[in-house]
Each structure stands twice: as C-alpha cells, then as structure tokens.
Symmetry: C2
Subunit: 332 residues, 2 copies
Amino acid sequence: MNYPIPDDLIALIRQSQRVLCVSHVNPDGDAYGSLLGMTWLLRSLGKQATPVMQDALLDEFRFLPGAGEILAPHQAGTNFDLVLSLDASSPDRIGDVYDATCHNQIPLGVIDHHITNTRFGLVNWVEPRCAATCQMVAYLAAGLAVPITEPLATCLMTGVITDTLGFRTNSTTPDVLAVAMLLQRDGADLAGIVQRTLNRMPFSALRLWSLVLPEMQLEDGVLWAAVRRDQLEAAGQHTDDSKLNSIFSTIMEADISAVFTEKIGENGQMAVECSFRAKPGFNVGDLAFSLGGGGHPPASGCTVVGLLADVLATVVPALKATRRRQANPATE
Amino acid sequence: MNYPIPDDLIALIRQSQRVLCVSHVNPDGDAYGSLLGMTWLLRSLGKQATPVMQDALLDEFRFLPGAGEILAPHQAGTNFDLVLSLDASSPDRIGDVYDATCHNQIPLGVIDHHITNTRFGLVNWVEPRCAATCQMVAYLAAGLAVPITEPLATCLMTGVITDTLGFRTNSTTPDVLAVAMLLQRDGADLAGIVQRTLNRMPFSALRLWSLVLPEMQLEDGVLWAAVRRDQLEAAGQHTDDSKLNSIFSTIMEADISAVFTEKIGENGQMAVECSFRAKPGFNVGDLAFSLGGGGHPPASGCTVVGLLADVLATVVPALKATRRRQANPATE
C-alpha cells in the first residue's frame, strides 16, 4: 500500500464499539463525505457510529446518504469509547463538538490530509499526499476489508470531487483517479455529484456579476473588478463572489486577475478583501504575503485596511508590476 | 479487453508503411488528440505517419506535441498505403482531406466513438461506449504493445478531458477514469491540460456577459437571456456565448435555462439561435425538436426564424410550460 495506515489506528477501530465521529466547522464536501463515509464504514463493521457536527446541515450536502442522521453537539450524548476526527487539522477546527474535559477519557484517532495537521490525537494518520480525507477513508475501508457499498461510495466520491474541484487541482494524482474509478464502480454517480456540488451557484451571485462586470478592467495582462458593499446588498442575501475570480482566471488575455471586495473590518474600519489568481508561470503568492495575507503562487488573498478607491490605487499597480516583472520579455 | 479491436484493423496497421492520418473539420480536442496520438503511435511502430487537417491549427491546441507537423490538404502528397480516419463519423466530416478518387485505391481504417458513424471504411472500429476516440487509441496502443510515451499520453489525455468536459459528462465511465489514470502516470499533465483547454475564454466573451447579464430574467424556474447583434458587435471579434448557458445551468433557482442569440439566417432573414439546458429530472430535448432543432433531455438547441422579440414571446412561455409540466407538484 502506498499510504500505510498506522496499526494503532486499525487496532483502535477494531476494539471500539461506540464511536463518535467528528469533522470541522464551516464544513465542505470532504468534511461531510469523510464524516458520513466513516459512519457507514463503522456500521459495516458492526459498530455503533454517531456523526456529529457543529454547523447545521448545508442544503447542498443534503443528498448525502445519512446526512439526516448528523447530530448537533447537544444531541450527541457521552456514551462513547472512541472519537474519530476526520479532515480537521486542529482541535479548535472541530468546534464545540470536541469537549476536552469529557473526551480526554476516550481515545482520539485523527485522520486528515492537511499538511498543517497538529497531530492532536492519541493516534494520528496524517497523509498530505492524499487530495482528500475521503481518499484516505477509501484506503481505510480496504485496510479493514470493508466492502464499499453505494452509500459509502457516494460519500467518499463527494469529498474527492469537491477537494479536487472535479479532478482539476494539482493534487489530483493518478492515485486519486484510481480511487475515483473504484468508487464509481461501486455505485457513486460521478456526474450527479458534480452537478449537486461544483455546478451549483445561487442566482444572487449571477446578479452580482451583472452589477460588477460592466466596470471590470483589463490592462497590461491584469484583469480586475471591484465589488462595492451596495452592489453586494443589491444582489441579495447570501451572495458571495468567490466564483468570479475563478472565471477571471480563465480569460486568455489575463496572466493575473483580482477581485476586490469592500468590507467593514472587525473594528468597524473600512477594509478590502483581495483575491488574486495567476496563470502558470506567474506568482501572486508573494504579493499577498507582503500585504499581510497568504496563499500559493496560483491563488492567494489578503485583507487590506482602507477605502476601496485607495486600496485599488495601491494594489492594482503592484499587480501590474508583478506581472511585468514575471512575464518573459522574449514572449511579450 | 472490454473493447475488442478488430483483427483486421491490427493487420492493416501492421502491414502499412506510409499512413495518412485524418480527422474531422471544425476540430475539437478529441480530433486533435486522436490525430496526433495516432501519429505518435504509428511512429513508435516505425511507420511513416502524416497528420493532415483541413482547418488551420487552433491556438488552444498549439501546445499538443506534434501540432506543428499537421499538414494542410494540398501539402499532404499522395504516397500512402493506408488512410486512418479518427473521430470522424462520415466521409464529409473529413472535409477536403479525403479525396474519394485518389484514396479509393488505398485501404481506409475508421476509428471513432460516435454512435452515428456511417462505417465508411474498409475496416471500421466504432465504439460508442468510449467517451472519446482518444480512449480508443489508448486501447489500440495496448493492443499493439506500443508503450505510452509522454507526447502520446498528452495527446490522448487532451481528447479524454475535452470530450468529457473534465470528467463531468455521463459518458465518464470507470473505464474513462482508468485510462486517464494510466495517461497521467505516463506523463500527461492533467491540471495543465485542463488549464489550456477547458479553462480558457476570450475577454470578449466576458465583455458580452457584462452587456447581457443586466437584462437576464428568472421567472417560474426558467432563467434566460437574449444576446442582440449589436451586443455581439460591441463585445468584439470572435465572441461566442456558448459558455453563458453552462453558467446558467448551475443556478440553483433555475430548473431550465436558455440563451437566445440574434442571427441573420442563410437567406438574409432574421433568426434566433436558441440554446436550452435542463437540470436532471427536466427535459428540453422535446421542445427543441418540436421547434425544428435537436439535442438531448439536458441540453438542446434550435434556430427559429423571426425577430428576437417575437421569438422570445413564443419560446419563453413554452419553456415555462415545459418546466411547470415537468416539475413534481409535490415539491413545488
């Protein structure tokens, strides 16, 4: 096996009878998929498994088999002999579900693919080479000789699809495709899960685009748009502009793109949330870092205190300078 | 092998020395990928292979290994002992490259995954269970014991990615994922190819969205927008609106979406090109068919003669009626 599972983890699971399964706050597809996948896996082994999450169930993950059984922290009870934490990189990410006083008496197993995992369990299986914690749970099922049923396959495929943006990230290795192939063979509806998770946007987001796009600008290979607070309000509730820069990053004429969103900061000051994207060969990670943010060469972000116009006047020239410096003069 | 290769085809290829490789007009990623993939495969076997295409090389496929060697019909010469047609469903799809008078003397092998293939070759390998002709060429390489080199893997992965929209279509079977896994192992840069093909849109398309989106409408679960000729002109050259309805089809509040594009028809009459999309459980195929067009339940289209306003006044109510009839009354 390319991804060795700690013997201690296998032993912990085999010895347990009543397992509390937890994941992280602000849950994504991999949080739901690994939490519910582990629940199905444990039940296949004849264990009692209780999935618990701090956040209320998100509409887009309601289709997951078992989603309706996820309990809120106050409903969970305390009668457990094992806690399994899935896809959470540190205890605080679990939220109110994890109660140190109460749960310190019970062994804690950590299963996670984040390189930043703090290894806070009694046993820790941290595998950053996996694109999703769901990929790890698929290996765990094989390690425990649990057959992958259709509900289990659906849960695990969801995490694999969402964490790889549909097999489009650099983390999508041949092993990811191999796991996806097995999960599809075992009954996961690939096209259907993509439709329910990735291909899903509220109308308010499109309304926001209609307000913002007429003022976008493309200069010197840098494409950017600003989102004012009045535009966010006009577009409607629950609007988010996170997919706008994904579209910008596909524009052929732009090497670097940015979306600037006007916010009121924690202390009431005006601030601007900056999202940067760069084509291969360009790097927006350093600029975000120098502005107090973080990220990676192809995608980064930061929050800059100030009025929108002032932030644009500073950051847009910096983006253009970054692009100019990084563009190969021979191909310009 | 799940996809048996005709012995005749294997024999034809083994006996040949100078092979003319052709594909179809209006080439897509699978046309380029299978044409160049076959060229690499044949060269691995020690054959002389000449890829020829009627259309000039599209910019977005310039990255494909060997793309610069594709010849125009008049450059191809006539000294061949085998013609292989890839991804073309009928001789007319090949365009000027195929000259019946000249090429009738030479055996013709047809390799294609379209169910509509007219089996116009001496030997025909038509495999509609494959999502891409590139998938078939990967099996052919295995059948001929040709190792998959990095250039071959890159060409074949491109066709698999583009014909499945990045593993998102219903045609994406576990076998497709298995082939993709092998091609990635053999050196194809999955994320890079997605970036160069699917994630690529001209700025003029975004400019068109900025003109069109402010007037879009969502009523009764139907989302639609009209694209006027003056908007197409204002957005700039080479604008196409094909991706707009893909975005519309992700909007949660819409079960059916449509984009109406104003055109001047062949005889100078005003006409409107209609593109329809439907969520799972809804069907826009029948409406398009009844309007003289065609397609499938989830995606269809038609061209309706008439002024934009008149066509909207007819077709939008028909879409709403379709949606109303198909919506489950219990969940409305």
